[in-house]
Point group: C2
Chain length 211, copies 2
DNA sequence: CGCTGAGTTCAGCGAGCGATGAATTACGTC
DNA sequence: GACGTAATTCATCGCTCGCTGAACTCAGCG
Protein backbone atom coordinates (compact mmCIF):
# COMPACT_ATOMS: atom_id res chain seq x y z
CA UNK A 1 0.00 0.00 0.00
CA UNK A 2 2.62 2.50 1.08
CA UNK A 3 0.26 5.20 2.29
CA UNK A 4 3.13 7.01 3.88
CA UNK A 5 6.67 7.87 2.86
CA UNK A 6 8.23 9.06 -0.35
CA UNK A 7 6.28 8.48 -3.53
CA UNK A 8 7.93 6.42 -6.29
CA UNK A 9 9.33 8.42 -9.17
CA UNK A 10 7.86 8.29 -12.65
CA UNK A 11 9.07 5.29 -14.69
CA UNK A 12 11.96 7.46 -15.82
CA UNK A 13 11.64 6.37 -19.44
CA UNK A 14 11.36 10.04 -20.44
CA UNK A 15 12.91 13.28 -19.36
CA UNK A 16 11.36 15.31 -16.58
CA UNK A 17 8.30 16.51 -18.40
CA UNK A 18 4.57 16.05 -18.08
CA UNK A 19 3.81 15.36 -14.43
CA UNK A 20 4.46 18.47 -12.36
CA UNK A 21 6.51 18.13 -9.23
CA UNK A 22 4.89 18.56 -5.84
CA UNK A 23 6.32 21.97 -5.15
CA UNK A 24 4.89 23.60 -8.26
CA UNK A 25 1.50 21.96 -7.90
CA UNK A 26 1.34 23.45 -4.41
CA UNK A 27 2.23 26.83 -5.92
CA UNK A 28 -0.50 26.50 -8.56
CA UNK A 29 -3.10 25.54 -5.97
CA UNK A 30 -1.97 28.41 -3.77
CA UNK A 31 -2.37 30.91 -6.59
CA UNK A 32 -5.89 29.63 -7.26
CA UNK A 33 -6.79 29.68 -3.58
CA UNK A 34 -5.43 33.14 -2.85
CA UNK A 35 -7.05 34.47 -6.02
CA UNK A 36 -10.43 33.17 -4.96
CA UNK A 37 -10.44 33.90 -1.23
CA UNK A 38 -7.55 36.22 -0.44
CA UNK A 39 -4.79 35.54 2.06
CA UNK A 40 -6.93 35.04 5.15
CA UNK A 41 -9.71 33.19 3.40
CA UNK A 42 -7.49 30.58 1.79
CA UNK A 43 -6.40 27.90 4.26
CA UNK A 44 -3.22 25.90 3.89
CA UNK A 45 -5.29 22.75 4.35
CA UNK A 46 -7.58 23.65 1.46
CA UNK A 47 -4.63 24.54 -0.75
CA UNK A 48 -2.92 21.25 0.06
CA UNK A 49 -6.11 19.33 -0.66
CA UNK A 50 -6.49 21.09 -4.01
CA UNK A 51 -2.91 20.15 -4.82
CA UNK A 52 -3.61 16.54 -3.82
CA UNK A 53 -0.99 16.65 -1.11
CA UNK A 54 -0.65 16.55 2.66
CA UNK A 55 -0.90 19.91 4.42
CA UNK A 56 2.41 19.45 6.17
CA UNK A 57 4.21 19.54 2.83
CA UNK A 58 3.44 23.23 2.55
CA UNK A 59 5.51 23.89 5.62
CA UNK A 60 8.16 21.49 4.45
CA UNK A 61 8.64 23.40 1.21
CA UNK A 62 7.82 26.96 2.18
CA UNK A 63 8.17 27.17 5.95
CA UNK A 64 5.02 29.20 6.59
CA UNK A 65 1.82 30.41 4.98
CA UNK A 66 3.38 33.89 4.70
CA UNK A 67 6.30 32.60 2.67
CA UNK A 68 4.00 30.46 0.52
CA UNK A 69 2.08 33.64 -0.26
CA UNK A 70 5.09 35.64 -1.37
CA UNK A 71 6.31 32.67 -3.41
CA UNK A 72 2.93 32.34 -5.13
CA UNK A 73 2.74 36.10 -5.76
CA UNK A 74 6.18 36.25 -7.40
CA UNK A 75 6.38 39.56 -9.22
CA UNK A 76 4.00 39.15 -12.13
CA UNK A 77 5.62 41.59 -14.56
CA UNK A 78 8.70 43.71 -15.07
CA UNK A 79 8.01 47.41 -14.42
CA UNK A 80 10.93 48.39 -16.64
CA UNK A 81 9.45 46.45 -19.56
CA UNK A 82 6.23 48.37 -19.05
CA UNK A 83 8.03 51.65 -19.37
CA UNK A 84 9.87 50.55 -22.48
CA UNK A 85 6.67 49.40 -24.15
CA UNK A 86 4.44 52.26 -23.11
CA UNK A 87 6.73 55.28 -23.32
CA UNK A 88 7.72 54.58 -26.90
CA UNK A 89 5.12 55.78 -29.40
CA UNK A 90 3.21 58.99 -29.94
CA UNK A 91 2.63 61.01 -26.81
CA UNK A 92 -1.01 61.75 -27.57
CA UNK A 93 -2.00 58.07 -27.42
CA UNK A 94 -0.03 57.13 -24.30
CA UNK A 95 -3.36 56.76 -22.46
CA UNK A 96 -4.55 54.02 -24.76
CA UNK A 97 -1.24 52.18 -24.52
CA UNK A 98 -1.39 52.24 -20.72
CA UNK A 99 -4.91 50.82 -20.62
CA UNK A 100 -4.06 48.19 -23.21
CA UNK A 101 -0.97 47.08 -21.34
CA UNK A 102 -2.86 46.96 -18.06
CA UNK A 103 -5.70 44.89 -19.47
CA UNK A 104 -3.37 42.50 -21.32
CA UNK A 105 -1.71 41.88 -17.98
CA UNK A 106 -5.02 40.80 -16.48
CA UNK A 107 -6.11 38.75 -19.47
CA UNK A 108 -3.33 36.22 -19.05
CA UNK A 109 -4.82 33.52 -16.78
CA UNK A 110 -1.93 32.81 -14.38
CA UNK A 111 -1.14 36.48 -13.98
CA UNK A 112 -4.79 37.22 -13.38
CA UNK A 113 -4.75 34.77 -10.48
CA UNK A 114 -1.70 36.46 -9.02
CA UNK A 115 -3.18 39.93 -9.34
CA UNK A 116 -6.52 38.78 -7.95
CA UNK A 117 -4.70 37.28 -4.98
CA UNK A 118 -2.88 40.53 -4.35
CA UNK A 119 -5.95 42.72 -4.68
CA UNK A 120 -8.22 40.49 -2.61
CA UNK A 121 -5.64 40.30 0.15
CA UNK A 122 -4.82 44.01 0.02
CA UNK A 123 -8.33 44.87 1.17
CA UNK A 124 -7.75 43.57 4.68
CA UNK A 125 -4.02 42.92 5.06
CA UNK A 126 -1.92 46.11 5.35
CA UNK A 127 1.17 44.24 4.23
CA UNK A 128 -0.49 43.12 1.00
CA UNK A 129 -1.85 46.64 0.58
CA UNK A 130 1.69 48.02 0.72
CA UNK A 131 2.69 45.36 -1.82
CA UNK A 132 0.06 46.56 -4.29
CA UNK A 133 0.81 50.22 -3.67
CA UNK A 134 4.51 49.79 -4.23
CA UNK A 135 4.19 47.55 -7.27
CA UNK A 136 1.39 49.36 -9.10
CA UNK A 137 1.54 53.00 -8.10
CA UNK A 138 5.07 53.78 -7.01
CA UNK A 139 6.80 51.10 -9.08
CA UNK A 140 4.98 51.44 -12.36
CA UNK A 141 2.48 54.25 -12.87
CA UNK A 142 4.42 56.98 -11.09
CA UNK A 143 7.71 56.52 -12.98
CA UNK A 144 5.71 56.25 -16.17
CA UNK A 145 3.94 59.54 -15.57
CA UNK A 146 7.13 61.19 -14.38
CA UNK A 147 8.89 60.10 -17.55
CA UNK A 148 6.48 62.09 -19.68
CA UNK A 149 7.82 65.18 -18.01
CA UNK A 150 4.61 66.81 -16.82
CA UNK A 151 4.18 68.59 -13.51
CA UNK A 152 2.16 67.22 -10.56
CA UNK A 153 3.22 63.72 -11.47
CA UNK A 154 2.32 62.25 -8.06
CA UNK A 155 -1.24 63.50 -8.26
CA UNK A 156 -1.56 62.36 -11.87
CA UNK A 157 -0.21 58.93 -10.98
CA UNK A 158 -2.81 58.37 -8.25
CA UNK A 159 -5.59 59.52 -10.56
CA UNK A 160 -4.40 57.07 -13.22
CA UNK A 161 -4.14 54.40 -10.55
CA UNK A 162 -7.68 55.05 -9.39
CA UNK A 163 -9.15 54.49 -12.86
CA UNK A 164 -7.04 51.41 -13.53
CA UNK A 165 -7.73 49.80 -10.16
CA UNK A 166 -11.42 50.58 -10.52
CA UNK A 167 -11.41 48.94 -13.93
CA UNK A 168 -9.80 45.81 -12.51
CA UNK A 169 -12.27 45.81 -9.64
CA UNK A 170 -15.38 45.99 -11.80
CA UNK A 171 -14.12 43.79 -14.61
CA UNK A 172 -12.15 41.07 -12.83
CA UNK A 173 -13.08 41.08 -9.13
CA UNK A 174 -16.78 41.91 -9.09
CA UNK A 175 -17.30 40.85 -12.73
CA UNK A 176 -20.02 43.40 -13.45
CA UNK A 177 -21.54 43.21 -16.90
CA UNK A 178 -21.33 44.54 -19.52
CA UNK A 179 -17.83 45.81 -18.73
CA UNK A 180 -16.62 42.36 -17.68
CA UNK A 181 -17.49 40.84 -21.05
CA UNK A 182 -16.39 43.67 -23.32
CA UNK A 183 -13.39 43.08 -25.65
CA UNK A 184 -10.13 44.68 -24.58
CA UNK A 185 -9.93 47.06 -27.53
CA UNK A 186 -13.39 48.45 -26.82
CA UNK A 187 -12.44 49.20 -23.24
CA UNK A 188 -9.19 50.72 -24.44
CA UNK A 189 -11.11 53.07 -26.71
CA UNK A 190 -13.50 54.02 -23.90
CA UNK A 191 -11.01 54.46 -21.03
CA UNK A 192 -7.89 55.49 -22.93
CA UNK A 193 -8.90 59.17 -23.21
CA UNK A 194 -9.46 59.30 -19.43
CA UNK A 195 -5.92 58.16 -18.75
CA UNK A 196 -4.62 60.43 -21.49
CA UNK A 197 -6.26 63.37 -19.76
CA UNK A 198 -4.89 62.44 -16.33
CA UNK A 199 -1.37 62.15 -17.74
CA UNK A 200 -1.06 65.10 -20.10
CA UNK A 201 -3.89 67.60 -19.63
CA UNK A 202 -3.69 70.47 -17.14
CA UNK A 203 -5.42 69.62 -13.86
CA UNK A 204 -7.91 72.26 -12.74
CA UNK A 205 -8.05 73.33 -9.13
CA UNK A 206 -4.39 72.78 -8.40
CA UNK A 207 -1.65 75.40 -8.54
CA UNK A 208 -0.16 74.47 -11.93
CA UNK A 209 3.40 74.66 -10.69
CA UNK A 210 3.06 72.32 -7.73
CA UNK A 211 4.57 68.86 -7.75
CA UNK B 1 -20.01 42.28 43.22
CA UNK B 2 -22.70 41.26 40.79
CA UNK B 3 -20.41 40.15 37.98
CA UNK B 4 -23.31 38.47 36.27
CA UNK B 5 -26.92 39.33 35.52
CA UNK B 6 -28.62 42.44 34.33
CA UNK B 7 -26.80 45.74 34.85
CA UNK B 8 -28.45 48.44 36.98
CA UNK B 9 -29.88 51.33 35.02
CA UNK B 10 -28.49 54.83 35.25
CA UNK B 11 -29.64 56.77 38.34
CA UNK B 12 -32.55 57.97 36.22
CA UNK B 13 -32.23 61.53 37.42
CA UNK B 14 -32.07 62.65 33.82
CA UNK B 15 -33.69 61.64 30.56
CA UNK B 16 -32.19 58.88 28.46
CA UNK B 17 -29.21 60.74 27.10
CA UNK B 18 -25.47 60.35 27.30
CA UNK B 19 -24.71 56.68 27.91
CA UNK B 20 -25.60 54.61 24.86
CA UNK B 21 -27.52 51.40 25.33
CA UNK B 22 -25.86 48.06 24.81
CA UNK B 23 -27.44 47.30 21.48
CA UNK B 24 -26.19 50.43 19.78
CA UNK B 25 -22.72 50.20 21.24
CA UNK B 26 -22.50 46.71 19.76
CA UNK B 27 -23.61 48.16 16.44
CA UNK B 28 -20.98 50.89 16.61
CA UNK B 29 -18.24 48.42 17.47
CA UNK B 30 -19.42 46.16 14.67
CA UNK B 31 -19.24 48.97 12.13
CA UNK B 32 -15.71 49.78 13.23
CA UNK B 33 -14.66 46.14 13.16
CA UNK B 34 -16.15 45.34 9.77
CA UNK B 35 -14.73 48.57 8.35
CA UNK B 36 -11.24 47.66 9.50
CA UNK B 37 -11.12 43.93 8.78
CA UNK B 38 -14.08 42.99 6.61
CA UNK B 39 -16.70 40.39 7.43
CA UNK B 40 -14.42 37.39 7.86
CA UNK B 41 -11.63 39.26 9.56
CA UNK B 42 -13.78 40.81 12.27
CA UNK B 43 -14.65 38.30 14.99
CA UNK B 44 -17.75 38.57 17.12
CA UNK B 45 -15.53 38.20 20.18
CA UNK B 46 -13.38 41.17 19.18
CA UNK B 47 -16.45 43.26 18.41
CA UNK B 48 -17.98 42.40 21.77
CA UNK B 49 -14.73 43.24 23.54
CA UNK B 50 -14.56 46.61 21.77
CA UNK B 51 -18.12 47.28 22.87
CA UNK B 52 -17.23 46.34 26.44
CA UNK B 53 -19.74 43.54 26.46
CA UNK B 54 -19.94 39.76 26.62
CA UNK B 55 -19.77 37.98 23.25
CA UNK B 56 -23.01 36.11 23.87
CA UNK B 57 -24.92 39.39 23.83
CA UNK B 58 -24.34 39.65 20.10
CA UNK B 59 -26.33 36.51 19.56
CA UNK B 60 -28.90 37.62 22.07
CA UNK B 61 -29.59 40.84 20.17
CA UNK B 62 -28.89 39.85 16.59
CA UNK B 63 -29.09 36.07 16.43
CA UNK B 64 -26.02 35.54 14.27
CA UNK B 65 -22.93 37.24 12.88
CA UNK B 66 -24.66 37.43 9.50
CA UNK B 67 -27.59 39.35 10.89
CA UNK B 68 -25.31 41.61 12.91
CA UNK B 69 -23.56 42.45 9.65
CA UNK B 70 -26.71 43.42 7.79
CA UNK B 71 -27.87 45.43 10.80
CA UNK B 72 -24.55 47.29 10.96
CA UNK B 73 -24.57 47.90 7.20
CA UNK B 74 -28.08 49.38 7.21
CA UNK B 75 -28.55 51.16 3.89
CA UNK B 76 -26.24 54.17 4.14
CA UNK B 77 -28.10 56.49 1.77
CA UNK B 78 -31.29 56.85 -0.20
CA UNK B 79 -30.75 56.19 -3.92
CA UNK B 80 -33.81 58.27 -4.78
CA UNK B 81 -32.38 61.27 -2.94
CA UNK B 82 -29.24 60.88 -5.02
CA UNK B 83 -31.20 61.09 -8.21
CA UNK B 84 -33.12 64.11 -7.05
CA UNK B 85 -29.96 65.95 -6.06
CA UNK B 86 -27.81 64.97 -9.02
CA UNK B 87 -30.24 65.05 -11.93
CA UNK B 88 -31.35 68.60 -11.22
CA UNK B 89 -28.91 71.17 -12.57
CA UNK B 90 -27.20 71.78 -15.87
CA UNK B 91 -26.58 68.67 -17.90
CA UNK B 92 -23.00 69.57 -18.81
CA UNK B 93 -21.84 69.49 -15.18
CA UNK B 94 -23.61 66.31 -14.11
CA UNK B 95 -20.21 64.62 -13.89
CA UNK B 96 -19.01 67.00 -11.23
CA UNK B 97 -22.20 66.62 -9.24
CA UNK B 98 -21.90 62.84 -9.27
CA UNK B 99 -18.32 62.90 -8.02
CA UNK B 100 -19.15 65.47 -5.37
CA UNK B 101 -22.09 63.48 -4.09
CA UNK B 102 -20.07 60.28 -4.04
CA UNK B 103 -17.19 61.84 -2.12
CA UNK B 104 -19.48 63.60 0.35
CA UNK B 105 -20.95 60.20 1.10
CA UNK B 106 -17.55 58.87 2.02
CA UNK B 107 -16.48 61.92 3.99
CA UNK B 108 -19.12 61.41 6.68
CA UNK B 109 -17.38 59.23 9.32
CA UNK B 110 -20.12 56.72 10.18
CA UNK B 111 -21.08 56.23 6.57
CA UNK B 112 -17.46 55.81 5.65
CA UNK B 113 -17.22 52.92 8.11
CA UNK B 114 -20.29 51.30 6.60
CA UNK B 115 -19.00 51.67 3.04
CA UNK B 116 -15.55 50.43 4.05
CA UNK B 117 -17.15 47.40 5.66
CA UNK B 118 -19.10 46.65 2.51
CA UNK B 119 -16.16 47.11 0.16
CA UNK B 120 -13.70 45.16 2.30
CA UNK B 121 -16.15 42.29 2.62
CA UNK B 122 -17.15 42.36 -1.03
CA UNK B 123 -13.64 41.37 -2.07
CA UNK B 124 -13.98 37.84 -0.72
CA UNK B 125 -17.65 37.31 0.10
CA UNK B 126 -19.89 36.89 -2.98
CA UNK B 127 -22.94 37.90 -0.98
CA UNK B 128 -21.39 41.20 0.05
CA UNK B 129 -20.21 41.65 -3.53
CA UNK B 130 -23.79 41.34 -4.74
CA UNK B 131 -24.79 43.85 -2.05
CA UNK B 132 -22.33 46.43 -3.39
CA UNK B 133 -23.20 45.74 -7.00
CA UNK B 134 -26.92 46.14 -6.40
CA UNK B 135 -26.61 49.22 -4.22
CA UNK B 136 -23.99 51.15 -6.16
CA UNK B 137 -24.26 50.11 -9.79
CA UNK B 138 -27.78 48.86 -10.40
CA UNK B 139 -29.46 50.87 -7.64
CA UNK B 140 -27.82 54.24 -8.10
CA UNK B 141 -25.49 54.81 -11.03
CA UNK B 142 -27.46 52.93 -13.65
CA UNK B 143 -30.82 54.67 -13.04
CA UNK B 144 -28.95 57.95 -12.90
CA UNK B 145 -27.30 57.41 -16.25
CA UNK B 146 -30.52 56.06 -17.75
CA UNK B 147 -32.36 59.17 -16.59
CA UNK B 148 -30.15 61.40 -18.71
CA UNK B 149 -31.55 59.60 -21.75
CA UNK B 150 -28.37 58.56 -23.51
CA UNK B 151 -27.88 55.24 -25.29
CA UNK B 152 -25.67 52.39 -24.01
CA UNK B 153 -26.59 53.28 -20.45
CA UNK B 154 -25.48 49.92 -19.00
CA UNK B 155 -21.99 50.26 -20.43
CA UNK B 156 -21.79 53.89 -19.33
CA UNK B 157 -22.93 52.97 -15.83
CA UNK B 158 -20.18 50.38 -15.38
CA UNK B 159 -17.58 52.82 -16.68
CA UNK B 160 -18.76 55.43 -14.20
CA UNK B 161 -18.79 52.77 -11.49
CA UNK B 162 -15.23 51.77 -12.29
CA UNK B 163 -13.92 55.30 -11.84
CA UNK B 164 -15.89 55.91 -8.64
CA UNK B 165 -14.97 52.58 -7.05
CA UNK B 166 -11.33 53.11 -8.01
CA UNK B 167 -11.45 56.53 -6.41
CA UNK B 168 -12.83 55.06 -3.18
CA UNK B 169 -10.23 52.31 -3.28
CA UNK B 170 -7.24 54.61 -3.63
CA UNK B 171 -8.54 57.37 -1.38
CA UNK B 172 -10.28 55.52 1.44
CA UNK B 173 -9.18 51.88 1.42
CA UNK B 174 -5.52 52.00 0.42
CA UNK B 175 -5.13 55.68 1.41
CA UNK B 176 -2.55 56.50 -1.26
CA UNK B 177 -1.21 60.04 -1.16
CA UNK B 178 -1.60 62.61 -2.49
CA UNK B 179 -5.12 61.64 -3.59
CA UNK B 180 -6.12 60.58 -0.09
CA UNK B 181 -5.31 63.99 1.37
CA UNK B 182 -6.66 66.20 -1.42
CA UNK B 183 -9.72 68.38 -0.71
CA UNK B 184 -13.00 67.15 -2.16
CA UNK B 185 -13.44 70.07 -4.55
CA UNK B 186 -10.03 69.51 -6.09
CA UNK B 187 -10.84 65.88 -6.76
CA UNK B 188 -14.22 66.91 -8.14
CA UNK B 189 -12.51 69.23 -10.60
CA UNK B 190 -10.04 66.53 -11.64
CA UNK B 191 -12.39 63.56 -11.94
CA UNK B 192 -15.66 65.31 -12.84
CA UNK B 193 -14.82 65.59 -16.56
CA UNK B 194 -14.10 61.85 -16.69
CA UNK B 195 -17.56 61.00 -15.38
CA UNK B 196 -19.07 63.66 -17.63
CA UNK B 197 -17.50 61.98 -20.63
CA UNK B 198 -18.67 58.50 -19.62
CA UNK B 199 -22.22 59.76 -19.14
CA UNK B 200 -22.77 62.07 -22.09
CA UNK B 201 -20.06 61.72 -24.73
CA UNK B 202 -20.25 59.19 -27.57
CA UNK B 203 -18.34 56.01 -26.77
CA UNK B 204 -15.92 54.97 -29.49
CA UNK B 205 -15.65 51.38 -30.60
CA UNK B 206 -19.24 50.50 -29.87
CA UNK B 207 -22.10 50.53 -32.36
CA UNK B 208 -23.71 53.85 -31.33
CA UNK B 209 -27.22 52.44 -31.31
CA UNK B 210 -26.64 49.47 -29.02
CA UNK B 211 -27.97 49.36 -25.49
C1' DC C 1 24.20 -4.16 0.22
C1' DG C 2 23.89 -0.30 3.57
C1' DC C 3 23.85 4.35 4.55
C1' DT C 4 22.11 9.04 4.17
C1' DG C 5 19.05 12.54 2.99
C1' DA C 6 15.01 14.15 0.81
C1' DG C 7 10.03 13.45 0.15
C1' DT C 8 5.72 12.25 2.33
C1' DT C 9 2.12 11.10 5.70
C1' DC C 10 -0.05 11.09 10.22
C1' DA C 11 -1.42 12.41 14.69
C1' DG C 12 -1.86 16.08 17.51
C1' DC C 13 -1.12 20.77 19.97
C1' DG C 14 -2.78 25.26 21.16
C1' DA C 15 -5.47 28.88 19.77
C1' DG C 16 -9.39 31.10 17.91
C1' DC C 17 -13.81 30.83 15.77
C1' DG C 18 -19.38 31.11 15.90
C1' DA C 19 -22.83 29.46 18.54
C1' DT C 20 -25.63 27.48 22.60
C1' DG C 21 -27.81 26.86 27.17
C1' DA C 22 -28.06 27.48 31.83
C1' DA C 23 -27.55 30.55 35.61
C1' DT C 24 -27.87 35.13 37.56
C1' DT C 25 -29.57 39.80 38.13
C1' DA C 26 -32.51 43.78 37.51
C1' DC C 27 -36.64 46.09 35.62
C1' DG C 28 -41.76 46.76 35.00
C1' DT C 29 -46.24 45.66 36.44
C1' DC C 30 -49.89 44.34 39.11
C1' DG D 1 -43.85 42.30 47.43
C1' DA D 2 -44.24 38.62 44.06
C1' DC D 3 -43.86 37.46 39.25
C1' DG D 4 -42.67 37.28 34.50
C1' DT D 5 -39.49 38.97 31.32
C1' DA D 6 -35.49 41.12 29.53
C1' DA D 7 -30.52 41.78 30.04
C1' DT D 8 -26.14 39.91 31.11
C1' DT D 9 -22.39 36.57 32.14
C1' DC D 10 -20.13 32.07 32.17
C1' DA D 11 -18.84 27.68 30.74
C1' DT D 12 -18.53 25.02 27.06
C1' DC D 13 -19.28 22.52 22.45
C1' DG D 14 -17.70 21.38 17.90
C1' DC D 15 -14.96 23.00 14.40
C1' DT D 16 -11.05 24.97 11.75
C1' DC D 17 -6.86 27.15 11.74
C1' DG D 18 -1.37 27.30 11.24
C1' DC D 19 2.08 24.64 12.63
C1' DT D 20 5.18 20.76 14.65
C1' DG D 21 7.55 16.35 15.38
C1' DA D 22 7.89 11.74 14.73
C1' DA D 23 7.60 7.97 11.64
C1' DC D 24 7.91 5.99 7.25
C1' DT D 25 9.49 5.28 2.31
C1' DC D 26 12.02 5.93 -1.55
C1' DA D 27 16.28 7.68 -4.47
C1' DG D 28 21.13 8.10 -4.95
C1' DC D 29 25.73 6.89 -3.77
C1' DG D 30 29.51 4.07 -2.27
Amino acid sequence: MARTGRRPARPADEEASASPDTRSSILAAARAGFALSGYDGASTRAIAAAAGVDAALIHHYFGSKQRLFVAAMEIPFDPDAVRREVVGGPRDTVGERIVRFFLDLWEEPVRRQILLGMVRSAMTDPEAAAMVRRLVIEGTVLPLVAETGVTQSAMRATLVGSQLMGLALIRYVLCVEPLAGTPVETVVAAVGPTIQRYVTAPIEGLPPGAD
